[in-house]
């Protein structure tokens, strides 16, 4: 699909380009929620993270460590209790208009067909209906659902719904892509296919991606950088690894490379302790 030229370009090049102006910069973010009994719950404490333009960054951490909270902060759906959020060097005033967000839960509009679901982002932005639908059709074709345009979400499988979701987000051409365990509920094979589809689409125009997952293998296979968070509450960023694997990658094949194994071992050593801590705190649930 994408030309070799757009897939090429060394990592070093990209980092140099992105370093000037991060797409998303979270600086010293703390998030506290008031509790019912009058106390306060600190989900994330003094977390900092930045994503360069065109960079694919994954956040990995144990269950309940505030990964989603951090993503919602970057989306502007949630305001931090303290800290700065900058998008392309501008302070985020409210909702992040430059970002597309693929949610963990099913977030398609159940009363709209696949085509209408994908077209809606353009329609609300003022595009003519016919034109929006035409482009939605093209996007559904790109995600492999050309023949499912008239289906309502409940008539689609979990994987197909995620494809529609991906098209729904990408059709607006956001500069930043936020993804919250988007392939979590899918089975292993479908996850792999979706991962490759995502990399394929991403390599066409290299958006900045912030990808949340609890699956370390998935994170390494997809990303340029993997960020590890500690177990919550008071979750922080405790590790940051570059992924030295060349692109383009195939999710299944890249997992067989020695570099992948070495990195996985390194990161897992840090992550394991946090996962165990997370289990202990949640009572092993």
């Amino acid at each position: 699909m994408a030309s070799e030229a757009s897939r090429g370009g060394s990592l070093a090049n990209e980092r140099a380009r992105g370093a000037a102006q991060p797409a998303v910069a979270l600086d010293d973010i703390t998030v506290t929620f008031p509790l019912g009994d009058g106390g306060r719950f600190t989900a994330v404490e003094r977390a900092s993270l930045s994503v360069a333009d065109g960079e694919f960054v994954s956040i990995v951490g144990p269950t309940g460590c505030g990964k989603t909270t951090l993503l919602n902060i970057a989306a502007g759906l949630l305001a931090p209790s303290s800290g700065r959020v900058e998008v392309f060097a501008l302070r985020l005033p409210g909702l992040n208009r430059q970002a597309g967000y693929l949610f963990q839960a099913d977030a398609l509009f159940p009363w709209k067909t696949a085509l209408e679901n994908v077209a809606i982002g353009l329609e609300v932005a003022g595009a003519a209906r016919a034109q929006a639908r035409e482009r939605a059709q093209a996007w559904l074709t790109r995600v492999g659902l050309a023949h499912f345009t008239g289906r309502y979400p409940h008539m689609l499988s979990g994987g197909q719904r995620k494809r529609v979701g991906l098209a729904q987000v990408l059709i607006r051409d956001p500069k930043i892509l936020l993804m919250d365990e988007p392939f979590g509920p899918l089975d292993a094979q479908t996850r792999q296919i979706m991962g490759n589809l995502l990399l394929d689409l991403w390599s066409a125009d290299r958006k900045a991606v912030l990808f949340v997952t609890h699956d370390l293998e998935e994170a390494i296979a997809l990303s340029d950088r993997v960020v590890i968070m500690s177990a919550g509450p008071h979750a922080r960023v405790i590790g940051d690894w570059q992924v030295p694997l060349p692109r383009p990658r195939d999710i299944a094949e890249v997992k067989l490379e020695p570099a992948f194994h070495a990195l996985h071992r390194d990161i897992w050593q840090v992550l394991k302790a946090e996962v165990l801590k997370g289990y202990a705190q949640s009572g092993g649930a």
């Binding site: 989306a75 949610f103 009363w111 809606i120 932005a125 309502y152």
Partner: protein
């Protein structure tokens, strides 16, 4: 179970009930009729009465009046329910202020309102329409309120991230969600519109199915009462069928409940 067997079984149950009714009211068992025809009439008498009504054409006017009342009650009650349900759901302060009064009025048995409506609006159709509205309104109101309140947070967040403003949220998210809840209660609210009309007629009117039943009752004409009930039941089934048709058209996007295996 196939559709044909189901329909056959449904018809068998109906015929069996009528047959039992016939046997107990006409054939003496040990010298007594278990159901005296004076109180229970007989299927034959009731049938003859119904045929007579339709042949003479007297029934059409009553059916028409009841239909008009039910349709008006349903339309006005639904529109009011949708508007106020939306308003309350989007303005929590308003909802909180009116909450006890809504509960109070809803807890009131509507039958006690019928004489008041008859006083205010006379014995014509409008007192019955008003009674129907008080029934339909609350069903639609509560469903729309719930529908707007219970839009999935993920869908709402998604809509906002896709760039929808408040007006677009209304049109693409809240409205369809509220409508789906309203339609899920369509059978109930249509049924209550008919109930409102018939009860209103029964308590004081000059036409309609409720009037017909009440008149027969006044004359100890049990066959007339039963005939009125049968016509009313058929009327409700026809309306319910129409509602199902509308529902199937408007809620195509909703998952059909999986068929249970017998």
């Amino acid at each position: 179970m196939s559709r044909t067997t189901l329909i056959i079984l449904q018809i068998v149950v109906g015929l069996l009930a009528i047959a039992l009714w016939h046997v107990f009211t006409t054939i003496p068992i040990f010298g007594v009729k278990l159901l005296p025809p004076f109180f229970f009439s007989t299927p034959a008498d009731v049938g003859v009465r119904i045929v007579k009504w339709f042949v003479e054409g007297t029934i059409w006017r009553h059916l028409w009046i009841t239909l008009i009342e039910a349709v008006l009650a349903f339309a006005i009650g639904s529109i009011a329910g949708v508007l106020i349900g939306f308003w309350f759901a989007r303005k929590p302060v308003v909802a909180a202020v009116f909450d006890p009064y809504v509960k109070m009025i809803n807890a009131l048995p509507r039958v006690v309102l019928a004489p008041i409506f008859a006083l205010w609006l006379g014995l014509g159709i409008w007192s019955k329409v008003a009674l129907g509205i008080t029934l339909v309104f609350f069903i639609v109101f509560f469903n729309v309120y719930q529908g707007v309140k219970e839009v999935s947070p993920a869908i709402l967040a998604n809509a906002r991230m896709l760039g929808m403003n408040e007006r677009q949220l209304m049109r693409h998210v809240y409205w369809p969600s509220a409508l789906s809840w309203m339609f899920s209660s369509l059978h109930t609210s249509v049924g209550f519109a008919v109930v409102g009309a018939v009860v209103g007629e029964y308590l004081g009117s000059a036409a309609g199915l409720g009037y017909l039943i009440q008149q027969s009752e006044g004359l100890f004409d049990v066959a007339g009462v039963f005939a009125g009930m049968v016509v009313l039941a058929a009327f409700v089934i026809v309306i319910d069928g129409l509602v199902s048709l509308v529902e199937r058209r408007l809620l195509v996007w909703r998952p059909v409940a999986p068929e249970t295996q017998a």
